[in-house]
């Protein structure tokens, strides 16, 4: 896995990876539930199917966020250097990006768990 992606991903966009996963997960849950509740015939009549689907999407999303966090942690040098990472060097810029990405992965992880929680408790398309 350590060779799967370049050691330092030279891009601003990796910062947003975990947040994008959160957004896609949120959209999948919302759209899935909306279509299920409006058109029950299309996705199977049992609400449990929907909950299983949400569980699967959640597990996948959390795994992707964890991967993004591990990559970010590595970019951050596994925490070897302390913030604030404000030296005018490429090295410090990379450490900053790694650290910020790691923090965002944490927030996105919590966000995904929050979003998935309703599926634990709600068992029908009650309005």
């Amino acid at each position: 896995m350590w060779r799967l992606l370049p050691r330092e991903v030279e891009s601003l966009w990796t910062l947003f990876t975990a947040s994008v996963v959160w957004a896609l997960h949120f959209l999948a849950c919302y759209v899935g539930a909306a279509i299920y509740c409006e058109k029950p015939g299309l996705l199977g009549y049992d609400f449990v199917n929907l909950r299983i689907a949400i569980a699967a999407v959640t597990a996948l999303s959390l795994a992707m966020i964890a991967l993004s966090a591990i990559l970010a942690w590595r970019q951050w040098g596994f925490g070897a250097g302390d913030p604030p990472h404000d030296d005018p060097t490429r090295q410090d810029r990379l450490l900053f990006q790694g650290y910020a990405t790691l923090l965002l992965s944490g927030l996105s992880f919590v966000g995904v768990v929050f979003t998935a929680l309703p599926a634990l408790f709600i068992t029908e398309c009650l309005r």
Partner: protein, 835 residues
């Protein structure tokens, strides 16, 4: 970078040339200036004026509600007053004021002479001013919007709404164009125009926030533009998007409005917090604690804010599991929001705080905002929201959030940054008095509203009976509002009158550490020379930087060619890449804003001919603007910017700012398109048979359109490649054939619904199919315009194999066009069959 001694230079002559190049025109032509300092000031002053106007409307509301059974305002006038109050505060003050501050502050903060598209900035300002005056002026003719600031159908599609609804829809669509223009300008400016060495880990936090906010605008405003389009089609031509009797659904408007409306709250809030992130370190006398945490909070809030929109729709009868997703996200957003507050508290604890006037406003704002945030967590819970929905509890909550999270920080910013405008200072005594009046007045006005709301008083009622226990609470609120108003009036007096007699003060009175404080307010050139940045707080940590910069010892200290120039640097490490020549003073921005404004205003009154003529005039202005003001081939390849660095004067493709602007614009455009597609599937979801038993456009014509547009795309990309390799004739041929193919594509797109006899007024299904086909055709037409433009540039010798920026940008447009065509025609052509 070399530290070799600079050869003898005539610095006075350099300064003379710089001053001449960046000077504003004299006399009334001053108003044709496009310089970011002037545009920022005008923008800010206009937004402030609109705020005062809306504030007076707010006082009218409070006067009407002061006592029960009041007849100061009629019900109809009251409806207009509160609708306009909300509309103006949100659209003409809260969002534009941050665009104004950003346009004014960002170039000096980033060490740039100018933002990359000054004429676009000016165009945005004039559009905003024209649209704003139009919307505000309506109330003097009794024609203001009267259906609330969110214009819910069916009330707003009914006859009762009158012309006010059209004024709202068209006036605000026009202003949204201005916001998108500002977003393009800010994103490209922050990513590409930072001073050399200002890597992403050294960027001022204000720039980080603004980058996120501008990105949010790209995804938040277009859904509203799409919604406005559907809404206006219903009002003007009776296409039944929101009419349940013909398959429409008013809830679609609520979705589109709040997909815009909730992120909008954060679009307002984050830039205000960004001001605090500049102010707090200065008065704590130390760098911010937790820079990365602020970035986390800004990005995190930016994303999460898009998962909250349904919490405005908890009472609309959606499935509870859907509500719960949004409730969960609404709770989650409290995390990054709180992180920012804790970062400020930690910074203050770690430093020695000076309680100056800006700091007072900052702390007062945070205190008020925290209260609003806490009631926000309460109303994010569905059961509580069902109780508080549409009561004065919500009015209290939203004012705590907006006034604490936005108005107070903006006033803090006004007191803090005022010296940058003309070197003078605001009065400390008046400032402190104003703060305490505003702070106490605000709380006296809005704290009781929580109780009024819990006692059941609904929003938007023009009066109430005496015996239900709301009377004394309302009277207290009104008294508080008056005190708040007096406090704000004191600030207005301070800005307009008091200051005139003041002498000039220090340029950096607060001993702040960020780059914008190098600014010399009497000069219009931005920075005398562009320094290399090595710190987050360069004025604190880079010795003698201000002296060196102002002595012209850094990059680009001269304007030999008599042109306005700024540096373009790389996105991550801000390595110098190009000297960018930006547009100077011009009438074209005003002309384009005025003609486009006329289009929208004429449409409101259904003056079709005027609208068409103004549209043609706008198009001519646009062509003139592009032809004379962009893509000029420089007289030499490279330019020496000092200290032994020579940079190219021309860039095309991904290195050029134009390419980035196209990319950013089309991302926003793509979001609007996605919102229309969302509408299509929304109607599919809610109906057993969403076609209403009516025939569709068939698969043949849509597939033909897709094939033609794909061929037009291939021709455009081929033209770019041939041209690059020197095959100019082949490129021109391909451009022309691309335009023909695209024209055929547009015809085929419309032929689908037309040949099938789909009547858009009969049912929502033909209406949404027509809208998607028209959307694709209009974009195809824009594609033709661009292909012919490149063709003409090539013939005129302004587009060559080496200088091919336009062709790269047009090819990029066509990538987006191809995606639009693929989605449109698969959806309208294949989806009904697949179902």
């Amino acid at each position: 970078m070399s530290d070799a001694p600079t050869p003898e230079r005539d610095r006075a002559a350099e300064e003379g040339r710089l001053r001449a190049v960046w000077a504003n025109p004299p006399g009334w032509r001053y108003w044709t200036s496009v310089n970011n300092t002037q545009i920022g000031l005008w923008y800010g002053s206009a937004a402030f004026a609109f705020m005062l106007f809306a504030g007076l409307l707010g006082l009218l509301i409070r006067a009407q509600l002061a006592v029960p059974e009041n007849d100061l305002l009629s019900a109809e006038t009251y409806n207009q007053v509160y609708s306009l109050h909300g509309t103006v505060m949100m659209f003409l003050f809260a969002v534009p004021i941050f665009e104004a501050v950003a346009i004014f502050l960002l170039p000096p903060m980033l060490g740039a002479r100018e933002l990359p598209f000054p004429r676009l900035g000016a165009f945005g300002f004039w559009s905003f001013l024209i649209g704003g005056v139009f919307v505000c002026g309506s109330i003097f003719f009794g024609a203001a919007p009267n259906a609330g600031w969110f214009m819910y159908p069916p009330l707003a599609t009914s006859e009762q709404a009158g012309i006010g609804a059209d004024i709202w829809l068209l006036g605000l669509s026009f202003i949204e164009v201005a916001s998108l223009a500002a977003a393009v300008e800010l994103i490209v400016g922050i990513m590409k125009c930072r001073a050399p060495g200002m890597r992403v880990n050294l960027m001022p936090l204000f720039a980080w926030y603004l980058l996120i906010v501008a990105g949010m605008i790209l995804f938040a405003f277009p859904p509203l533009i799409a919604g406005d389009l559907l809404f206006e089609m219903q009002r003007m031509f009776d296409w039944p998007f929101f009419d349940p009797e013909r398959g429409g659904d008013p809830l679609l408007w609520q979705h589109l409005f709040w997909i815009f409306g909730h992120p909008e709250v954060y679009i307002i809030f984050l830039p205000a917090i960004a001001l605090l992130a500049m102010i707090v370190p200065t008065f704590a006398g130390r760098p911010i604690v937790g820079y990365s945490w602020i970035v986390l909070a800004a990005v995190g809030t930016g994303f999460l804010s898009f998962g909250l929109w349904v919490h405005h729709m908890f009472a609309t009868g959606l499935p509870q599991i859907s509500l719960a997703f949004f409730s969960a996200a609404s709770e989650a957003v409290a995390i990054p929001t709180a992180v920012q507050i804790f970062v400020f508290v930690a910074t203050m604890l770690a430093g020695r705080v000076i309680f100056s006037t800006p700091m007072l406003f900052a702390l007062g704002g945070i205190a008020i905002f925290v209260m609003g945030g806490l009631t926000g967590v309460m109303v994010a819970l569905v059961p509580f929201d069902w109780q508080a929905h549409d009561t004065y509890f919500i009015v209290a909550h939203l004012h705590y959030v907006l006034i604490g999270g936005m108005l107070f920080p903006v006033f803090a910013g006004l007191y803090y940054y005022y010296p940058l405008i003309d070197g003078k200072h605001m009065s400390d005594r008046v400032g402190r008095l104003a703060f305490w009046l505003m702070f106490t007045g605000f709380n006296i006005a809005f704290l009781p509203m929580h109780l009024t709301g819990l006692r059941g008083m609904p929003r938007r009622v023009y009066t109430y009976p005496a015996d239900v226990g709301w009377d004394w609470l309302n009277l207290i609120s009104t008294m508080g509002a008056v005190v708040l108003g007096i406090g704000m009036f004191a600030v207005v007096v301070d800005v307009t009158l008091h200051r005139r007699k003041q002498p000039r003060g220090e340029v950096n009175p607060w001993n702040a550490g960020t780059l914008e404080w190098i600014n010399e307010p009497e000069e219009n050139w931005g920075v005398r020379s562009i320094p290399r940045i090595e710190s987050r707080y360069p004025l604190w940590e880079q010795k003698d930087l201000a002296t060196q910069v102002n002595a012209g010892e850094w990059y680009l200290p001269d304007a030999e060619e008599g042109l306005r120039e700024t540096l373009v640097t790389s996105v991550l490490d801000a390595e110098p890449e190009q000297v960018l020549r930006v547009g100077g003073t011009s009438y074209v921005s005003i002309f384009c804003a005025a003609t486009l404004g006329t289009v929208f205003i004429a449409l409101t009154f259904k003056f079709w001919i005027v609208s068409l003529l103004a549209g043609l005039a706008f198009l001519c202005g646009l062509i003139f603007w592009l032809w004379t003001g962009t893509g000029d081939i420089p007289e030499k390849e490279e330019k020496d910017i000092g200290r032994g660095i020579s940079l190219p004067l021309y860039a095309s493709g991904v290195k050029s700012v134009g390419w980035w602007a196209m990319f950013v614009t089309m991302t926003g455009d793509g979001t609007a398109f996605a919102s229309l597609v969302f509408g299509y599937f929304f109607f599919w979801t809610i109906h057993e048979d969403f076609t209403g038993g009516l025939g569709g456009p068939g698969a043949l014509w849509p597939m033909a359109a897709l094939a033609l547009f794909t061929a037009a795309w291939a021709a455009t990309v081929g033209a770019r490649e041939f041209n690059r390799r020197g095959g100019v004739v082949a490129a021109r041929t391909l451009l022309l054939s691309g335009a023909l193919l695209s024209a055929a594509g547009c015809a085929a797109a419309l032929a689908g619904p037309w040949r099938s006899g789909m009547d858009p007024t009969a049912h929502v299904y033909p209406a949404i199919v027509w809208i998607l086909a028209i959307w694709a055709s209009v974009h195809g037409a824009a594609g033709i315009f661009m292909q012919l433009y490149c063709f003409a540039r090539s013939i005129a010798g302004r587009l060559t194999p080496r200088h091919d920026m336009e062709l790269h940008n047009v090819a990029l447009y066509w990538h987006f066009m191809l995606m639009t065509a693929a989605v449109t025609f698969s959806v309208i052509g294949l989806f009904p069959g697949a179902m």
